[in-house]
């Protein structure tokens, strides 16, 4: 059991070390957060600043609870997140394992693997918007040229296909994140247990399942947590590709919030929505945090 330092009374080292982080977050995030909370209790409209003082208590929130469209979007966002994160994890793990086994040209391969991360989310949105365009997009063109279909498949219109398209775009953009993290974790893994296992006659699958996987799970959970917080970047993709449509079929929380807040200029209502969706983020984070702690306990590490 690795020993760790306990703080004696008056040992301020860890606090000092953490100060910069805490200060930064408080300054940049906490203050705006409080402001947002305040505006969610008002009927604040962007273009009429005097409405900032128009206190309506919880009216924005009660309106939300009876707003069916909001809850559908909420559910759809959960679905989107769940599918995307799981796919990114599995694919990322697969890629990381494969690349870890190859020795020749590693550096180039790793750079290629990170290629999608070089793309700004809005660029990814535009790129897939054109690729999935039913009339002049290269995907349909390719399918037709290869004779696989004679229809123009409406990737961005049909309910299921549109969800598929935005999930595909999001997974394409972010799988590399998982892959590189898991790869770094694989490389940081001590070799001894692996060799010992092989020597004892375990096959590859057993080695993977019982040694490799538990070791890299903490990294996976870190990645998942950050990705689930960060997946609001998917807003750019969805906004450009479908705008939440058609007919609200791909409406996620963020497109709804942005439209309400900026296009309709109903900032107070938008912030109320944002707070409700923050609960969603917190739930995901909480879930993965607990998984992370459990994984660490399993590995017998520091807590």
């Amino acid at each position: 059991m690795p020993r760790i330092l306990t703080t004696k009374r008056g040992n301020w080292t860890p606090v000092l070390l953490l100060m910069p982080a805490i200060v930064t977050m408080l300054f940049v995030v906490a203050l705006p957060l409080i402001f947002s909370l305040y505006t969610s209790l008002t009927a604040y409209r962007l273009v009429r600043p005097e409405t900032l003082w128009d206190f309506v208590w919880f009216r924005n929130y009660t309106r939300l609870f009876t707003d069916w469209d909001f809850w559908v979007a909420f559910g759809r966002t959960i679905l989107f997140l769940t599918i995307a994160l799981n796919l990114e994890f599995i694919l990322g793990l697969g890629i990381a394992l494969l690349i870890a086994r190859i020795t020749w040209g590693q550096r180039t391969l790793r750079t290629i693997m990170m290629f999608p991360m070089m793309f700004s989310p809005i660029l990814v949105g535009f790129m897939f918007k054109f690729i999935f365009n039913d009339n002049i997009g290269i995907l349909n063109n390719a399918l037709q040229s290869l004779g696989l279909t004679d229809r123009a498949i409406p990737w961005l219109v049909d309910a299921k296909l549109a969800m598929f398209s935005i999930i595909f775009a999001e997974v394409w953009m972010s799988t590399s994140v998982f892959a590189i993290l898991l790869l770094a974790g694989l490389f940081a893994m001590p070799r001894d247990p692996l060799e010992a296992a092989k020597v004892d006659g375990c096959n590859s699958w057993q080695v993977f399942r019982h040694i490799t996987l538990p070791f890299i799970m903490p990294f996976a959970f870190i990645a998942m947590t950050i990705r689930s917080l960060d997946v609001a970047r998917a807003y750019d993709i969805v906004h450009v590709m479908t705008g939440g449509g058609p007919a609200g079929r791909t409406e996620l929380l963020w497109t709804m919030i942005a439209r309400t807040g900026y296009s309709d200029a109903r900032m107070g209502q938008a912030n109320a929505m944002a707070y409700v969706s923050t609960i969603l983020s917190i739930l995901f984070t909480w879930y993965f945090y607990n998984k992370l702690m459990a994984a660490r306990r399993y590995m017998g590490g520091v807590q």
């Binding site: 330092l5 080292t13 860890p14 606090v15 070390l17 910069p20 805490i22 930064t24 977050m25 300054f27 995030v29 203050l31 705006p32 947002s36 890629i95 494969l98 190859i102 550096r107 750079t111 290629i112 990170m114 290629f115 999608p116 991360m117 070089m118 793309f119 700004s120 809005i122 660029l123 790129m127 897939f128 054109f130 690729i131 002049i136 290269i138 063109n141 394409w172 590399s176 790869l183 770094a184 490389f187 940081a188 070799r191 020597v199 006659g201 950050i226 917080l229 960060d230 807003y235 750019d236 929380l253 919030i257 807040g261 938008a270 944002a274 969706s277 923050t278 917190i282 945090y289 590490g301």
Partner: protein, 296 residues
């Protein structure tokens, strides 16, 4: 050891099986790489083709015309338009991304070390709290940040955007570096201290090199996040004093004409430096394999 006895030697089939496995491995990797790269490569290729060809139907798979005209337009050599101040945007992006990455890494290392090595009150709470701050959707933040920044005179300054990006990256860097520090046994640092190093020296000599892969990974992510970020940048920047490449890219797309080829050219300008930067950092992503011997 029972190794030699327990494994039957089947010399003739083994090399073949191994080669087949290796081939399958290469093939699968290749396929995945292709899927990852094709959309991106299409963008890069489109940058060198005229609009007419890119969107042709039936599609023109083999380019008949390769042109640098799209790039010329951006830099202002086309007859009709003024160019985009790409060099300014590039410098801004570079300065802002690098600075915010370095600062985020420093804060991240300090914080990660604190979490990995110490036990203190509210530790779990602070840990979770840092992450939960990140849970706030950007939409809820963007207007208040704008208001605060404009009162502080940070709008349209590089520093203003750097501060925002640091806060964006800090939770992730802390978590990641913390994870890597935990894998390094305390005994190594203690051994060094027994030999006469201070904690500080031990950190730089022992723990820092061993966690290199984690720090490098965190650095790469922070850099790419800052390099590619759009939403907050468009809030906080206004002119060539601080505008970054992604914002410049969006400005390039007017309401009516999406000059797809021109946009691809701009995209190439954004991608290439990121690619070069990543390639250079690659070698630090492999952890020192030597430390694996001590489990502690």
């Amino acid at each position: 050891m029972t190794v030699a006895m327990s494994r039957p030697m089947t010399a003739p089939t083994r090399p073949l099986k191994k080669r087949a496995q290796s081939a399958a491995l290469w093939f699968t990797t290749f396929l995945l790489m292709v899927i990852m790269c094709v959309p991106g490569l299409w963008v890069v290729l489109s940058a060198f083709r005229p609009n007419r060809e890119i969107l042709a139907k039936p599609p023109i798979w083999v380019p008949t015309e390769i042109t640098l005209g799209n790039f010329a337009k951006i830099f202002g050599f086309g007859a009709e338009q003024v160019g985009i101040p790409v060099t300014s945007y590039f410098m801004n992006s570079m300065v802002i991304a690098l600075t915010s990455t370095v600062i985020a890494l420093i804060i991240g290392m300090a914080g990660g070390y604190a979490f990995a090595r110490y036990r203190f009150r509210f530790k779990g709470g602070i840990f979770l709290g840092l992450m939960l701050f990140r849970a706030v959707p950007g939409i809820a933040l963007s207007l208040p940040v704008f208001m605060m920044w404009s009162r502080l005179g940070l709008i349209d300054t590089q520093m203003g955007l750097i501060i925002v990006y640091v806060s964006l990256n800090v939770p992730f860097t802390i978590w990641l570096i913390d994870g890597f520090f935990r894998q390094i046994p305390m005994s190594l640092s203690e051994a060094a201290q027994v030999d006469g190093c201070t904690r500080w020296q031990a950190f730089w000599k022992i723990e820092f090199p061993l966690a290199r892969s984690g720090i490098a990974a965190a650095g790469v992510f922070a850099f790419l996040t800052s390099w590619n970020e759009y939403a907050l940048a468009s809030q906080v920047t206004r002119s060539t004093d601080s505008k970054t490449l992604p914002v410049g890219l969006m400005d390039f797309t007017a309401q009516f004409t999406i000059d797809w080829a021109g946009m691809c050219a701009m995209a190439v300008i954004i991608i290439v430096p990121a690619l070069i930067m990543t390639f250079l950092v690659q070698k630090h992503l492999i952890a020192g394999l030597t430390f694996g011997g001590v489990k502690g």
